[in-house]
Symmetry: C2
Subunit: 414 residues, 2 copies
């Protein structure tokens, strides 16, 4: 086995150095995609990669590919990366860690003149967050053929500025075509954005895929009535029905635990007066499970439980969105698990609950992810926090998995 050690202090230094670009008073980052702060961090990243012996290519929607050549120019690159943009009040680690850990890997290899079989690339995907231009993961999606380049360029922010205008303004409209760029593999290191690893004392999450998601809207109709003059038995109280629906969602999730989750995130109650029995409630349901088949069972279970509690009310459940499960590449998952194991790092398999650039990249290349813990699962928040040791562990697993996979490739062109 190869034995290259990343420099955890240097990695932490780059995290803190780039965190100054768009730094907020509360310790977070505001670095909206294609803003001047985004330009500054891109300039920083490009210079750092070039200093580590890379050439940087930018495609027509701003995706950046920092390439370090390998022994065999015929092999597609092994890629690492994530995104450098943030939420409006984002943290210092979401996305940034995956890019800067890739940079740290390149620097560590560069320092000792290590030669890989395949080229390596560190990628900064444009607009993962979707906070300024929707949808999220837009540029990795276009790379994978999910969105067209024209669609991406035409998107507008709330002030009316188009993506095309914004990317021209910061000078990151590159010349490389979008997509059609084969990868040997793609590894994305990311903070978990959930509490599981921390709660279980694990340092590394071996990400096996992304949960399947189904979204629903439930409208419950009863009858408005006077809260004083209407006896309980005469009521058709839509909110009492909604309460049973909320608990039914919880029961469905628990019945398909520990991996199933179910959430009612929005609940609106009409007419909304202290002394009027609510006649109508609207609510949303978000069900997720790592397996599509189990998620389908959860939907059936939900429908059955709702039918059982609707009583004299009208329940109208509409499924509005389905996102199938993503299963990452088994070989790459194996390299991550083995890297964590050999480093003696506590680890567990985990399905990502959130979307990531890797979800789209997985459509066109062997892909996997590595998670490290973040404090209390807090993310998309200035209080987002991972420790230097956790970041270093993730970066070391990333590099070791990349090198282990690289060792399976041919060292010279056929």
């Amino acid at each position: 086995m190869t034995n290259v050690t990343i420099d955890g202090e240097r990695l932490w230094g780059t995290l803190m150095e780039t965190a100054a670009i768009g730094a907020t008073a509360k310790g977070g980052i505001r670095r909206l995609t294609l803003s001047d702060e985004d330009r500054r961090v891109r300039d920083w990243f490009k210079a750092a990669c070039e200093e580590a012996g890379c050439t940087v290519t930018v495609d027509r929607i701003g995706n950046m590919f920092a390439r370090r050549e390998g022994r065999n120019p015929g092999l597609p690159p092994i890629c690492m990366g994530s995104h450098l943009d943030t939420q409006p009040t984002g943290g210092k680690f979401d996305g940034v860690l995956g890019v800067l850990a890739g940079l740290e890997a390149l620097r560590s290899l560069h320092a000792i003149g290590y030669e890989t079989n395949a080229p390596l690339e560190v990628i900064n995907w444009t607009n993962e967050e979707g906070a300024r231009f929707t949808p999220a993961m837009m540029a990795s999606g276009a790379f994978a053929g999910v969105f067209t380049e024209d669609y991406v360029l035409s998107r507008r922010d709330r002030d009316g500025a188009s993506f095309a205008e914004a990317i021209e303004a910061i000078g990151y409209r590159g010349e490389a075509p979008v997509g059609g760029r084969p990868f040997s593999a793609m590894f994305e290191l990311h903070i978990e954005q959930g509490p599981i690893l921390e709660a279980e004392g694990k340092t590394i999450g071996v990400v096996t895929g992304v949960q399947a998601i189904r979204w629903f809207e439930l409208t419950i109709r009863g009858a408005d009535a006077h809260a004083g003059a209407t006896p309980m038995r005469n009521r058709r109280d839509a909110l009492a029905g909604a309460a049973r629906a909320v608990l039914a969602v919880e029961e469905v999730a628990l019945a398909h635990g520990p991996d199933g989750v179910g959430t009612v995130g929005i609940l609106e109650c009409r007419p909304g007066s202290t002394n009027v029995v609510p006649g109508e409630v609207f609510l949303t349901v978000d069900l997720r499970h790592p397996l599509d088949s189990t998620l389908a069972c959860m939907e059936e279970d939900l429908r059955g439980r709702l039918a059982a509690v609707q009583g004299k009310l009208d329940f109208e459940l509409e499924r509005i969105w389905v996102s199938p499960a993503v299963h990452f590449d088994e070989r790459l998952i194996g390299h991550v698990r083995e890297a964590a194991e050999r480093l003696g790092l506590p680890h567990r398999d985990i399905a990502s609950g959130a979307g990531h650039d890797a979800v789209y990249v997985a459509k066109v290349a062997p892909t996997t992810m590595i998670f490290v813990p973040c404090r209390e699962g807090i993310s998309h928040n200035e209080a987002e926090e991972s420790t230097p040791a956790q970041c270093a562990a993730g970066a070391q697993v990333l590099l070791n998995a990349v090198l282990a996979f690289d060792a399976t490739l041919e060292g010279s062109a056929r």
Copy 2:
């Protein structure tokens, strides 16, 4: 027993005739207090009472007292009445029935020259609805000493007009002082505004009082969390807690049935995003029972049930309003019950769930109410509907109860 029969057709005719004053396209009435429509119905009422041999006195806040003298001028009057103002999209019966049934009683007595022991008065209370000037039941409240005359006169509508200006504008600022006017009794006939009588096939509600009411605000605090990345066991889902609270309110009401009621009318859920576990919920609780002591138990029961379901959440329950139960005069209740019984009208004792002018009058005089059914309990709505037979039955019970009570009074001055 006396035997005076009211004219149900004539009563219905006056209901329909006055319903034309402020009639809406959907069959209701828009007759806001102290509006020109209010002036017109007051003018109509004054003329009709004078034609039936009454003299009409108006007090300084517009309350109208149409007096028919009795045999014994030393006795305070026996009063009937309610209000002629309506909600912005009100019905034809709420309040109006109680005034016009009083008028019908006067007309019936006048037609046969019937002489009572006590004087009779039919009252039109100003601004019961509180739709233009808040609070509701303002003028009967001032009559009973709950509000001062100055307070009433200073209230302003949404356009900035004061009650004082509005009452001057329609010419109904009378000269009689507000209150200090003894009554032998006050009977208010009103539609139920609830579904109980209709559901049970009763024509007359013998109103024993008005429910006690307690209002609460409940704030539930948990933690916002990612709907995908947060396992069920790690959640502090404020909405799941709120669902349990809503059902606890229902359980409290049912445990103190059939008279106890409990309503969550407002529920607000934050932050309100499909894929975010809600971290905070605000909701209102309205508990009512005819007995103060039972309502106090219901509050204790609610606190206990909330404590039992709060789990890892913070529940903050604040009592924001207490309205004690009103118990009407037992003798007057007895006269109403007996009148219904003798007329062979199906009846039941009932506690009013809503507030009425009689609630305030009960503070200063023996008072009771009579309910008649309204279709499906619908009120404060243009679809409000009672049948001619129900209105006539209510008016007959009203008159018979008044005459039965009158018969207990002395026929000449001592």
